[in-house]
């Protein structure tokens, strides 16, 4: 691949497009070629440079020169001065933003779809539609123009970090596996997206499977692997089917198989399914599962890069990490590194779920705030309720309350705040959520999914769950909070793998920010959010009840009595607090106290 000394990025956002940015792009290309610079200067289009109001705008890297309000007749002069004579044309630069006004340059709330670019646009079961969207061009370029070291360098330069949650620099990981000694190497895609609330990977596998396949083939070439596996959870049968179709189509076109694109590189790819074990999202457990064993993690080192699947050097990356690769190759690492924050480059997909109006998938550059995600893109809290907390990063993530709404989202900032990036699940909670119940809930999940191998996780989470269950049942004791805090510390320090180490996070963060709720449960036997069944009562408001008998007729345990047109009464001793009466009442006469 030719190494360009400069890249020109031309903004293709709608506002810039309307102002003629693509004509500017064409003129730039023509002028660059005219000056004989086509092997030195690359011209690309890109979304979101950020000053469309003063478009058309371009960005020149690596210098970082931002030109705005360009006109067609500016181009020949600009190319000659900037690229031939090395003299940037400062009169056309974007004005310097004074120090104090830096916050004005916060990212806009517009999404930037890189990984999700084809989802919902193409028929995922038709490889030609992927090819029409520049599919497999990156692979062709890499196999004909670059050697493995160059490919690894590009990925390193892009700043791409593993999107599965750990955030380890992808290029560095590829480098380790490339350098490891082994007669056989493997690439594995971790598609065991088990985090509740995370479904980004599912969408990519179902909507644009070839982006993952192409990314994996490129990775295999870079590290020297001849065999790959996509390990997909069995709870995603449609994703499994779509990926298998994609692989078959790629094989039919010779994009998987012997001597791809006429090169010496050969590669085969298979799908393996999980069987319902969250822990298999952990890379060593995943490897065990492919090998036909219980999905139990093992200590590291040795890391999979050195000794992984079947004891051979193995590169494991998340679906999203691979899906980014073709675009990074085609558009160049500087384009990718031009988005995001200092240490978290590029974009990230997030799955918004819970009490937010617009649930679904988004893809945004790092640096966007939680407030923008929840309120601007997510449309705010459902039913006009008040925001209480957001849990990021899956069941091992922390819950962040209101004071963190202006937190810019990136790996470091989320960890500092006491949560994690995880794979990108974001569960929004409103003021009707009991945070103790939520902590108990996540712990129940983790207890269920603990592989059982190490004592801190297996026994520790069980004991924590017992304590939390007691608290939610109104049987909390003085000393429970301190005991929980102790257990959290020990489990975190002594567990074998990420599942155990992260298990205390929901408890730690809810104790930190919502300690008053725990205390209300324990000392006042009250659930402030009116959720914990043992601590609430359902009552009928005599002012609102019209005696329609709907609640009585729907009560599964016949706890409600009353004559037609007369106020009904709930017997608290029979009532099981299922909430059905409140659901069916048309007069809002059922109160929870």
């Amino acid at each position: 691949m030719a190494y360009f000394r400069s890249h020109i990025l031309v903004c293709n956002d709608p506002e810039c497009l309307e102002k003629g940015s693509m004509e500017i792009l064409d003129l730039l290309k023509k002028e660059i070629t005219k000056q004989g610079l086509e092997d030195e200067v690359q011209v690309l289009d890109t979304p979101r440079i950020g000053a469309c109001a003063q478009g058309p705008e371009i960005m020149v890297y690596p210098e970082g020169h931002h030109y705005i309000q360009l006109e067609k007749n500016n181009i020949p002069f600009l190319v000659e001065e900037q690229f031939l004579k090395g003299r940037p044309v400062t009169k056309w630069f974007a004005p310097e933003i004074p120090e104090g006004a830096q916050e004005l340059r916060e990212p806009t709330t517009k999404e930037v779809r890189v990984v999700l670019r084809n989802c919902g646009k193409i028929d995922p079961e038709n490889i030609e539609e992927y090819i029409a969207e520049d599919g497999y061009q990156a692979l062709a370029q890499v196999l004909t123009d670059s050697n493995p070291d160059e490919v690894i360098q590009i990925v390193k330069d892009s700043g791409l970090r593993g999107r599965g949650g750990a955030g380890f620099p992808t290029g560095v990981k590829w480098g380790f596996t490339h350098d490891a000694i082994g007669d056989q190497k493997y690439v594995v895609c971790n598609a065991d997206e088990g985090d509740p609330g995370a479904f980004m990977n599912r969408a990519v596998l179902e909507g644009d499977p070839h982006s993952v396949v192409e990314g994996m083939i490129i990775a295999a070439y870079a590290i020297g692997a001849s065999q790959g596996y996509i390990y997909c959870r069995a709870e995603y049968p449609i994703a499994v089917k779509t990926v298998k179709i994609a692989i078959n189509q790629a094989k039919n076109y010779g994009l998987i198989g012997e001597k791809i694109f006429g090169s010496e590189f050969s590669f085969d790819l298979e799908v393996r399914q999980g069987a319902g074990a969250f822990v298999c999202g952990e890379e060593t457990a995943l490897i065990a599962s492919i090998e036909g064993r219980r999905g139990e993690p093992r200590p590291r080192p040795p890391f999979p890069a050195v000794s992984g699947l079947f004891g051979k050097p193995t590169n494991i990356n998340n679906v999203e990490s691979y899906a980014n690769i073709p675009q990074i190759i085609l558009r160049g690492p500087e384009w990718f590194a031009g988005m995001g924050t200092e240490k978290s480059k590029g974009t990230k997909t997030f799955a918004l779920a819970g009490d937010v109006n617009k649930t679904g998938l988004i893809e945004v550059p790092f640096g966007i705030t939680l407030r923008e995600i929840i309120f601007d893109i997510g449309g705010g809290i459902k039913n006009g309720r008040k925001y209480k907390a957001i849990q990021t990063g899956g069941p091992m993530g922390g819950c962040l309350p209101e004071q963190y709404l202006d937190l810019p989202v990136d790996y470091e900032k989320l960890t500092e705040a006491g949560s994690i990036m995880g794979s990108g699940g974001m569960v929004v909670m409103d003021d009707e959520t009991c945070m103790v119940d939520i902590a108990r809930f996540f712990l129940e999940f983790i207890q269920d999914e603990s592989c059982g191998k190490c004592v801190p996780c297996r026994v520790g989470t069980k004991r924590m769950l017992e304590i939390l269950t007691r608290i939610c049942n109104g049987e909390g004791k003085d000393g429970d909070i301190e005991l929980l805090e102790n257990l959290c510390m020990e489990i975190r320090e002594d567990s074998l793998c990420g599942l155990g180490k992260g298990a205390p996070n929901p408890v730690v963060s809810t104790l930190r920010f919502f300690r008053d709720e725990y205390e209300a449960h324990i000392y006042n036997k009250e659930c402030p959010a009116k959720v914990c069944r043992a601590l609430i009562n359902y009552e009928i408001d005599p002012e609102k009840c019209v005696g329609c008998t709907l609640c009585a007729r729907n009560c599964p345990v016949e706890a409600i009595s009353g004559e037609r047109k007369e106020t009904h009464v709930i017997d608290p001793d029979i009532c099981i607090r299922c909430g059905i009466c409140k659901q069916v009442c048309n007069y809002e006469a059922v109160l929870v106290t």
Binding site: G276, S289, G354, V427, F445, I580
Partner: protein
């Protein structure tokens, strides 16, 4: 999923079909067990014993793998299996109410099968469709945007 009583010979035939499909490779144990689970609704002991001898793996290993993964059943299930997602996004979106309604309508708790062998009710981890929560699966059919009122009609669809 069928509950017809199969004799041991038929069960072993099913086991052989699965093993042959994956060329009797040891590392394909999980796909083999998955195939048996799909065909029979569960993995009977006699099948585990047969797979053990065909793959030359100790039966204890087969048992330990079969009991590890949530999607494998080692006991016979009802004609239909209901998997209700009990993960946080479903829980906060009304999943609790749907879960309670299901429990009331079926008359059983998670992990149990109804006396007439019609329903097995289990909870499952996240199905990955959280944006249309609450969600449940009945056999291979997936239902989203659930409300308690929909439950009786959905259940009535199945024989």
């Amino acid at each position: 999923m069928s509950v017809e009583v199969k004799n041991d010979r038929d069960l072993i035939k099913t086991a052989d079909k699965a093993v042959d499909m994956y060329h009797a490779k040891k590392e394909e144990l999980i796909p083999i067990l998955m195939k048996v689970n799909q065909d029979l609704g569960y993995i009977p002991k006699v099948v585990m014993a047969h797979i053990s001898s065909r793959l030359n793996i100790p039966q204890s290993h087969i048992n330990s793998v079969a009991s590890f993964y949530h999607m494998f059943f080692t006991k016979q299930t009802g004609r239909h299996v209901i998997k209700m997602c009990e993960s946080a996004p479903c829980h906060v979106s009304g999943g609790r109410e749907v879960f309670n309604t299901l429990k009331e309508n079926l008359g059983i708790s998670p992990g149990e099968t109804t006396k007439d062998d019609k329903w097995t009710f289990i909870t499952t981890s996240c199905l990955g469709v959280c944006a249309v929560a609450p969600v449940m699966m009945v056999d291979e059919d997936i239902y989203g945007n659930l409300t308690p009122e929909q439950i009786p009609d959905i259940l009535a669809k199945y024989e």
